[in-house]
Amino acid sequence: MKQFQYSRPATQQAVIDAINKPGTKIIAGGTNLVDLMKRGVTAPDKLIDINHLPLKNISIGKGGLQIGALALNSVVSEDKLVLQNHPLLSMALKAGASPQLRNMATVGGNILQRTRCAYFYDTTMPCNKREPGSGCGAIGGYNRMHAIFGASDKCIAVHPSDMCVALVALDATVIVQSKKGTRRIPFADFHRLPGEHPDLDNNLAAGELILGVEIPDNNFAKNSYYLKIRDRQSYAFALVSVAAALELDGNTIKNARLAMGGVAHKPWRLVEAEKALVGKTVSAETFNIAAQIAIQGAKTYGGNDFKLKLAPATITEALKHASGLV
């Protein structure tokens, strides 16, 4: 690992002043950043430790449930308010990483974690995300884990987070602060598609600190489910995952939220499939139709062809669990 300077500015304002400089990176839990630094994928000149900032709270505010950027993944997953109001978020968090890692990983770091594409991690391989212009190793290479939606001919990587799939389904907002003040970014607009610039994962501007996320109130608590399919039962990234949240009136679907992980460069909200669910009766048939709509426009790259079958099957299964059909 390359040498770097380390600093722990005393206040939030001092952190914001410090992160505005090129070559500087924030460190929270370090579970992604330290890994990437060890491999030489990223090499900051200076780390700004923010772990002492008062951004750990989970509380009810005017706009809904607020979760500080430094709240640990383990803490959020077991928090009473989260379990009561947004069990989907707890399920997604518990499906991610391992208990040890969740004890270190923060909400802000989870949102900003980078792809697990093997070529991105291997500095001897071409990768447009790591080294713009060097090519994409995964296109025509090993792409079992890769995207089926919204990819470009520059990059077909996926965003690896489970938590973010739940947050995009729950219409969360990311709250950030910079020298210019605070800004609210709807979760669906936070991450970006690779397009011509796969080096950019998201729309966070340089010098911005994530303060936390806010989840508006909803009526999904009773009928939500996170289903993650992976190569082993636990402690592995998703091949495909589905966050499903329903508001039921008897057997009728009043409102629906659906999002997928492991399929795109960002947590992938399935708006058309949601529309196909609203007003319908809970049944395997209804869910199959929505799942087929969800998969429209998918494109595969050889190694991930199986996702064309796995993705709709996972959607149907997640909806069955959410609705209580199984």
Binding site: Y6, G23, G30, K46
Partner: protein, 214 residues
């Protein structure tokens, strides 16, 4: 490791790292620096090891309580808790498996919570209490989880075992050892290449059911 970022001037308001001394080095040039500095630096410079000089100035003070013993250390910011424990404190019970958060061999407790020490920077846990496998036994009396691992043959080569045991103790303390299924899920962060999993689960279940304090 290659840096794509342009070199940055050290921040002057930042006193945490004694950056004034480093600035001095950078700004005044090596020769002037040598004239005023003690002999290890001169020796390093004479052998052309400019980097070593930088090293001497980049260290950060860290205080840690490890297994009840307080330590005042001076470390490079890039040193992980795992390397610090093994190489500076010679507590080699904590193992390095993957060094990338993927196996759990390096599991220790920080302020009572289990973490992967290979992805934890030493500077970040300054001021905290660390417990390693060496800190579980009370003198000659093994911790109940250690006893249970021996009784149930919860290992073969033993490489993953310190991490397994630290994780197992945390698993019970967290209240995540209520069924075989739950134990397997909450122990999934510890890989055993020898496949001792069934015996590990048995050991944890026995300690949990025995109701002893862990």
């Amino acid at each position: 490791m290659k840096s794509k970022n342009p070199p940055e001037e050290p921040a002057h308001e930042d006193n945490f790292l004694e950056s004034s001394r480093r600035d001095f080095l950078k700004h005044s040039g090596l020769l002037t620096a040598i004239a005023f500095t003690p002999s290890p630096l001169v020796k390093a410079a004479q052998s052309g090891l400019d980097e070593k000089i930088a090293d001497l100035y980049e260290k950060v003070p860290v205080s840690l309580e490890v297994n009840g013993v307080k330590h005042q250390l001076s470390i490079e910011p890039r040193v992980t808790l795992l390397d610090l424990l093994r190489e500076q404190l010679e507590l080699t019970g904590t193992k390095k498996g993957c060094d990338h958060g993927q196996c759990g061999a390096c599991t220790v407790h920080v302020d009572g919570h289990r973490v992967n020490s290979c992805l934890t920077l030493g500077v970040i846990v300054s001021g905290k209490k660390i417990t390693t496998i060496e800190g579980l036994a009370k003198g000659d009396q093994l911790h109940p989880m250690q006893e249970a691992f021996i009784k149930h043959d919860g290992f073969q080569c033993g490489y993953c075992t310190p991490g397994q045991i630290m994780s197992a103790v945390a698993c019970i303390r967290e209240g995540h050892a209520n069924s075989e299924h739950e134990i397997r899920e909450y122990m999934s962060g510890n890989i055993c290449r020898c496949g001792a999993y069934p015996n590990i689960v048995n050991a944890i279940q026995e300690v949990k059911e025995g109701g002893q304090a862990v």
